[in-house]
């Protein structure tokens, strides 16, 4: 029998492992040494003929070598796999500057976005959001709000530009119509805001529409004051525009409030210095407001001696135009996706 030179075998096997470049080659080498018919198996099989003592000694040496080589094969296999991965990765280069593929998303209308934000701010200050009908009676839209028939305000304020229905009734010209509807069914104290669509008989241009959105606010309690209104509305603007803003109140006239107020917001573009956005005045006219007129409380069946409150109405379209710097109100109702897809 041939002399068993395990040392030489070990050396050769290691050499061959080292030389192999791919997994297929490695497998061949593996079979040559550790396969069923491999060198080490042959040696083990040949041991049968040897004396017991010697057989045990060589056997354990062969097994040791087997274990040793197995580890070597595994290490080499890892090494090769790693190289393959590296090669693949190198080949798989992508151009990260190519444009991304955007999933087709839908878009909410900017007025929806602003309406939600406004509702959220007022709700956080304890105001409940209420709605009302778009078709109204003269009573809720005018008479109950201290605007009797033949009152100049019915013509002179833009409230006069009202759309009437052939079947009777009218399209509400302001959300103030919901004031009485709400007060008839609820008792003070309360705080509400009323967002909604309103209608005017108006030729359309970049700042006028035949229908648009308003938000009415109404807070009634025992001691509500102009000072309270000022705090609430200032807080609203701060939160809405996300920065410290300034407002000013000046006299105005709406038949359903007394005193009547106009609220100006300091121009967001120039901080009051005067620019083209605010026509050099430094201020932007934002909303009409005032303390609820006693006659309005009477219309609602309240005793005006017991209750005080403030009411305000602001245009949501205008607020949205300011927020997104939109210069034409008609875009809102155009259905133009080139506009809507930007929100």
């Amino acid at each position: 029998m041939a002399k068993i030179n395990l040392k030489l075998l070990k050396k050769e096997a290691q050499k061959e492992i080292k030389k192999t470049r791919d997994l297929k080659g490695l497998n061949e080498v593996f079979n040559k040494y550790l396969g069923k018919k491999g060198e080490l198996s042959l040696i083990l099989r040949s041991l049968k003929k040897l004396p017991k003592l010697r057989r045990a000694k060589i056997g354990s040496e062969v097994n040791e070598l087997k274990d040793f080589l197995k580890i070597k094969f595994e290490q080499k296999a890892e090494e090769i796999k790693e190289k393959i991965k590296q090669k693949i990765e190198e080949k798989e280069w992508i151009d990260i500057t190519a444009p991304g593929r955007k999933p087709a998303l839908g878009h909410l209308h900017p007025l929806t976005l602003v309406k939600r934000k406004v509702e959220e701010i007022f709700q956080s200050m304890g105001f409940t959001v209420i709605e009302g009908p778009e078709i109204e009676t003269e009573w809720y839209n005018f008479d109950a709000l201290n605007i009797p028939k033949d009152h100049p305000a019915r013509d002179i304020l833009s409230l006069g530009k009202t759309l009437y229905l052939k079947a009777g009734g009218l399209m509400r010209s302001h959300t103030s119509s919901v004031q009485i509807r709400y007060m008839e069914k609820n008792n003070p104290p309360f705080r509400i805001v009323v967002p909604g669509r309103i209608f005017r008989q108006e030729s359309t241009d970049s700042s006028h529409e035949i229908n648009f959105y308003q938000l009415e606010g109404l807070m009634v309690d025992k001691n509500i004051s102009v000072a309270n209104f000022k705090a609430i509305i200032e807080e609203f603007f701060r939160r809405f525009f996300g920065k410290d803003t300034k407002i000013r109140l000046r006299p105005s006239y709406f038949p359903f409030v007394e005193p009547g107020l106009e609220v100006d917001l300091i121009c967001l573009s120039c901080q009051g210095k005067g620019c083209s956005v605010c026509s050099q005045t430094g201020w932007l006219e934002m909303l009409g407001a005032g303390m609820v007129h006693p006659n309005v409380f009477k219309s609602a069946g309240y005793n005006p001696k017991f209750w005080q409150g403030f009411a305000f109405g602001m245009g949501l379209d205008r607020l949205t135009m300011m927020k997104y710097k939109i210069n034409d109100i008609r875009l809102f109702y155009s259905g133009d996706l080139r506009f809507l897809n930007q929100f």
């Binding site: 839908g106 878009h107 909410l108 209308h109 709700q123 304890g126 105001f127 409940t128 959001v129 709605e131 078709i135 033949d150 100049p152 305000a153 759309l163 009437y164 229905l165 052939k166 079947a167 009734g169 399209m171 104290p189 705080r191 008989q201 108006e202 030729s203 035949i210 229908n211 807070m219 309690d221 001691n223 004051s225 102009v226 000072a227 309270n228 000022k230 705090a231 609430i232 807080e235 000013r248 109140l249 000046r250 006299p251 105005s252 006239y253 038949p255 005193p259 009547g260 106009e262 303390m291 007129h293 005080q308 109702y333 155009s334 259905g335 133009d336 996706l337 080139r338 809507l340 897809n341």
Partner: protein, 703 residues
């Protein structure tokens, strides 16, 4: 209204703040000044006088009073010292009869003789021009000037052009020939008679209706009261004797009259807002004074004054604590009294009422009659607040009960539905609440089912929209040039006859997208917590079958339980043609009121089975018209609880198949909650399903 800065200055001895500063003060305390402009040596202020203050502030005097209250500077009333001529008595020239006290609460007249009509002096002409009025002659200009100054419209007639009461009086009194005693002319304030006409100063002809108030002589109308003078008694260069009219007319009468003949003038505008009857006297005297000074005329003695019911000042009790509570700031009492006095309010009774602690809590205020806008304590509080300055009121949060706001479910479900559609890739549009006459024709809506507008701005906005679909289709038409696939939706009010309004939710996809949109509706409803959704054949009403919005064969009713909540289908090609839409359009249209009632936030988690599922495929040949739902139902019933899901993965119709057949292929997913299903069990079930399916004639499971 446009005001002259120099004119305002003329009421004050001290200098006014500069025009810009003055404009700012007026804006913050009285009325917004929309423009300040230098013209020559003067400045104009365009002041947006609030409509309730027209009675006193459509005049330089009124604005001067405001300036005085704001700045604390004293102002002076214009001069009106008349030297009445004792030889001439007004009542010998003219008498006035007012037929309707209600329509004309006061009528004052004066007569000025030996008037020389000509150009007015430069300063009058300049002031008129700066305020936008055209100078005519000295008499007319003075009337206009006094109107701009005091707010009281005046009118001047040529006395000699009026019909006389007694035409024979001249002859009866021969002594008077050298110094002829004038005839007494009569001015009558009455409503127009049927068929009466008048030619106005600008030579326009008006047919007068019976509700129009006129100024007449004994024969005919010589002016439309409070609106415009007539040509017949016009002041011209030959005029010698002038009758000045300074009257008060009922605002509603003038408003109605001005509307019915469609004529608005500086005078009608002022009367419409209401004026103080006590103002007529001041104005007529001022005008007589100026005519006397400027034209050298002689003012006859006495004022003809028909004023049956004198208007007296109102008294208002003002609780100072209420003022403090309403404004949210305590203004010192001395300050309050000072403000009220500057505005010509009087504190009546000398001493304010005392409270228990000796503090005066209530004052009694007398309101000058020119303040028609003031009748309540709140009105006085506004005066105090605005003159004191709203900017001095601090911002103070209200002290109120902590009332958590109530949730608005209507809005909640709207927001939810919008979010779901947005997530699916739909964009929200807002359309007009109106449809046009043309739209009505295209969609063949009957007049009787629509709500029609009395006064639309144009026929584009003639009717309230009875559905969201017409305007959504318009959106498609407009967007088709820029976009390939369009997916849009709208949630808004629609209107049906009897003025019923309700919310609708409609969505549109371009293309043949019935199944895609059906999937959208399923998803939308599922996400809103609605499960028992099914689709029924569209059952057109007899009317609809003649003409329908929908493609008759590609439309379904959307049902939840037994209720129809909307429609899903393709739009009729005829309509698309009419609207020039070049692609097919699929639409869903849901009654949102019904939807939000069905919607629910209840949602229960279904445990995930720990046991593996198994998939078996099944392909079946069925007649072409067989509904997939029928096949699915059969499989489900036969398979029972162990079927977790059935997934239709192929529908095939083709040449290889027998004519009139289609092939449907399903994945059937079996799974139990409590055990691993054995293949024997599954095979048994699958066999059962096959045998059940094959009981239907013409159904053949492909093996």
């Amino acid at each position: 209204m446009v005001f002259s800065y120099n004119w305002l200055q003329s009421f004050f001895k001290k200098r006014l703040p500069n025009p810009q500063k003055l404009a700012e003060l007026l804006t913050m305390h009285s009325f917004e000044v929309s423009e300040v402009k230098k013209i020559g040596k003067d400045w104009i202020l365009d002041i947006d006088v609030l409509p309730n203050r027209a009675s006193d502030c459509f005049s330089h005097l009124g604005i001067a009073r405001e300036i005085s209250a704001i700045t604390g500077l004293s102002y002076q009333n214009p001069s009106l010292i008349i030297r009445e001529d004792k030889e001439l008595k007004t009542k010998d020239f003219v008498s006035v009869e007012v037929k309707s006290r209600q329509a004309c609460p006061r009528y004052t007249a004066r007569v000025i003789t030996e008037v020389k009509v000509g150009f007015s002096p430069k300063w009058i002409r300049e002031r008129l021009q700066i305020c936008g009025l055209r100078p005519i002659n000295n008499v007319v200009d003075i009337a206009n000037y006094v109107m701009l100054e005091t707010g009281q419209p005046l009118h001047a007639f040529d006395l000699e052009k009026l019909e006389s009461t007694n035409p024979k009086s001249e002859i009866q009194n021969p002594k008077q020939i050298s110094n002829p005693k004038p005839q007494i002319k009569k001015i009558i304030v009455r409503f127009a008679k049927e068929g009466e006409k008048i030619v106005t100063l600008d030579e326009e002809k008006y047919d007068l209706e019976k509700n129009i108030l006129v100024i007449a002589d004994t024969k005919k109308p010589i002016a439309i009261a409070g609106i415009k003078g007539g040509l017949s008694a016009k002041i011209d260069l030959k005029t010698k004797v002038v009758v000045l009219e300074s009257a008060n007319f009922n605002s509603r009468v003038i408003r109605r009259g001005s509307k019915s003949i469609d004529l608005k003038t500086d005078a009608s505008w002022r009367f419409e807002h209401g004026l103080d009857p006590n103002l007529t006297e001041l104005a007529i005297n001022r005008a007589a004074y100026l005519i006397q000074e400027i034209t050298g005329g002689r003012v006859a003695l006495g004022l003809v004054d028909v004023y049956p019911q004198k208007v007296l000042p109102k008294q208002i009790k003002l609780d100072l604590n209420y003022a403090k509570s309403l404004l949210g700031i305590e203004i010192p009492k001395t300050e309050i009294l000072k403000i009220l006095k500057k505005l010509e309010f009087k504190i009546a009774g000398g001493r304010p009422l005392q409270s228990a602690g000796g503090d005066p809590l209530q004052i009694e205020v007398q309101v000058p009659t020119f303040r028609l806008d003031i009748s309540l304590p709140e009105d006085l509080i506004e005066e105090i607040g605005r003159i004191y300055g709203y900017q001095k009121i601090p911002a103070r949060f209200p002290l109120a009960l902590l009332q958590p706001p109530k949730r608005n479910l209507d809005i909640f479900w709207e927001d939810r539905a919008k979010d779901i559609l947005k997530e699916i890739g739909f964009s929200e549009v807002y359309n007009y609440s109106f449809i046009s006459e043309k739209g009505r024709e295209i969609f063949q809506y009957k007049n009787t089912e629509l709500v029609e507008i009395v006064n639309p701005i144009s026929s584009d906005f003639q009717y309230l929209r009875p559905s969201l679909i017409p305007n959504l289709l318009k959106n498609i038409e407009k967007n088709q040039r820029n976009f390939g696939e369009i997916k849009i939706f709208e949630l808004g009010k629609i209107f049906k006859k009897d003025c019923k309004e309700k919310r609708a939710l409609s969505g549109v996809i371009t293309g043949e997208a019935f199944y895609e949109l059906k999937g959208v509706v399923d998803l939308l409803l599922n996400k809103l917590g609605i499960s028992n959704i099914w689709y029924d054949e569209y059952q057109p009403t007899p009317e609809e079958s003649k003409f329908s919005l929908w493609h008759p064969k590609k439309c379904a009713e959307i049902k939840v339980n037994h209720e129809e909540i909307g429609f899903l289908g393709e739009i009729s090609p005829r309509i698309l043609d009419n609207l020039k839409i070049g692609t097919k359009v699929t639409v869903f249209d849901i009654d949102f009121e019904k939807l939000s009632k069905l919607a629910s936030e209840e949602h229960e988690y279904q445990p995930i089975s720990r046991f593996p599922s198994a998939i078996r495929d099944l392909a079946i040949l069925v007649p072409w018209e067989t509904r997939i739902e029928e096949v699915l139902n059969e499989i489900e019933t036969a398979g029972g609880l162990l079927i977790r899901d059935i997934d239709l993965f192929d529908i095939y119709e083709g040449e290889e198949l027998p004519a009139g057949k289609k092939s449907l292929a399903f994945h059937i997913i079996y799974q139990a909650q409590d055990r691993t299903l054995t293949s024997e069990e599954i095979n048994l079930l699958q066999k059962k399903i096959i045998s059940v399916l094959e009981k239907n004639s013409g159904w053949e499971v492909r093996k």
